[in-house]
Assembly symmetry: C2
Amino acid sequence: MQNFTFSNPTKIIFGKAVVAKLAPEAARAGKKALFVYGGGSIKKNGVYDVLTAALEKEGVAITEHHGVKPNPALSHVRAGIRKARTRNCDIIVAAGGGSVIDEAKAIAAGAKYGGDVWDFFCGKAAIREALPLFTALTLPATGSEMNSGCVVTNEETEQKYCAQGAPLFPRVSALDPETTLTLPRAQVANGAVDSLAHLIEGYFTTKDRDNGVTDEVVHALARSITASTERILKDPADYDARASMMWSATLALNGLAACGYGGLTFINHAIEHSLSALYDIAHGAGLAIVMPAWFRHHLETDGPARLEKFGKAVFGAKTAEGTVRSFEGFFRKAGAPVRLSEAGIPASDIPRIAENAMGLIRLWGLQHEQPEIEKILRRAR
Amino acid sequence: MQNFTFSNPTKIIFGKAVVAKLAPEAARAGKKALFVYGGGSIKKNGVYDVLTAALEKEGVAITEHHGVKPNPALSHVRAGIRKARTRNCDIIVAAGGGSVIDEAKAIAAGAKYGGDVWDFFCGKAAIREALPLFTALTLPATGSEMNSGCVVTNEETEQKYCAQGAPLFPRVSALDPETTLTLPRAQVANGAVDSLAHLIEGYFTTKDRDNGVTDEVVHALARSITASTERILKDPADYDARASMMWSATLALNGLAACGYGGLTFINHAIEHSLSALYDIAHGAGLAIVMPAWFRHHLETDGPARLEKFGKAVFGAKTAEGTVRSFEGFFRKAGAPVRLSEAGIPASDIPRIAENAMGLIRLWGLQHEQPEIEKILRRAR
């Protein structure tokens, strides 16, 4: 077990009818909110009405910034920053999934920064302050509601990059599982894949064989994610399965599931971000394609020990290859693609995808060269 | 899954040689520390020298308050409060186990309060502020290093009571597993029993059958505690087992292991506090006596479902009674007493023990009468 620091100041309010409780929390921090949301799903599931009414009741003035896309775009982030400045917003309220929260984080940091917000993503500047952020989560997947990272896509340069900093932790996040009852099946699948991916990045980063409690916690969360997803696919109205999935996805990337692993290399994410940046496919779908290929590469380079341990505990698999097949089986059952061809991406694009991924790999200081990434991607044809 | 709020602001610095890192964290909050510790074990394991040197290097003046006992005494807490006030201490630094940290918390709250500190324990006042607290943990057991509760014994009234409040969360806690390598075997056992007890209080409070992810997390922590304790008993120098135990015990009572359970009734603790208050036995030893008896009572009143689920996941037990026997077997193997007689407590004292326990049971609003508590205790003869 390696040394680690764990610190997570986000307050979570979880359960039925908790969205309105976000308003008094936000009102204590500011009275002029930039209200960030996506394409309008929150108008269908009731979150928009509940939250705007509660904020108005608390005397919080709202400036809307909507239309956040999956793989949130830098141009839209910059527009949000301009709006927050023009209207002198002193807090950010975000309602939606990980993309909405990520864009809200980028705006929160950018609004307090003299330079261009992209500086935070390409390593030119560190995030020293941000507007206080309050979130209502409606899609369990990214964990952004309880961590200090965010991902934004620069459409001009085709780069899907990350920024991180303690000021980005949401102050309070409201998680109402009932707001996820109407999620489309594809988003259920993508959320399951993404949260599992967060667990395995740390689990397969460690070089220690002995990670006692954190291995146990990762297995516990992975079992919970796979079991609750299968229940949700059978019965979308299953509240307890929705609740279990929502809290599991949050815990999968709030720091807990990597304690003692000596960091997370995030190699699957580095490769997937290239797919999202080039083809604008859903992050979860991209990960479902990359992970099995990367697992088989890991098996070749690092041996079967970690795959065997994970697979035995989570899927009841007997071999490392059995673990990879269990992942593929779960992803397929959920409806996610597990090969590039299934997402309509031609094998001839592999060099271009790998080249794009190398941007992040170099920025993060990971020890991989382009031929290795191409080799992994060829396993995903 | 019931609604819940999760909020835990304590920063954890974990691993080898981390104790000195507490000093710069403390120095940012204040320059006059009350330094709280126990009977001198920290002088043997090196924590005293490392921490005092680091604090002095940061320009923090130290007023010592040592001699904290297991089951910390109200009179000693009051003496610490007087000392903190006289010396105008602006921070508290505590080094030791749960008793030391609990006494430090009581002093931190009492120093900022006009009335008597016992008011917080008997429900007469709420904790609204406290001196900032920094801890170096040397005994994994109580979880006090990452929660907002504390337990103190009023020697005059023979009451072992609790106080709680958000200002009591330590700002930063340093957890170095190497400082636990020299723990006496009895303290290893007591820590294992106590941390398991924290897990089962929530697990058996819930009336839901379906607690997905939190049940999984509880099982994971319980497996980690039992497995690492067995390794430590075989090889006290096993660093990874010490590390796993230390982090597991922290997570067992930092809020995580009760999310969605609808609260913790803490009935085993209510009964045990009576044993500690009347006989000054170690908290872990008292819990090892109470828990099997309470489990058998629970089996009679609530049926086998929860005992079966827990036992299957943690011990591989096949029946509810098999689960109780597995607990007893684990406690015995660790060297803890599992019957009143093994701790030299006569069965004729049962009415007196139950009467004392009723004080806490009434204060906490639990639905139990004295005859029921006596019945449970008779199972522990």
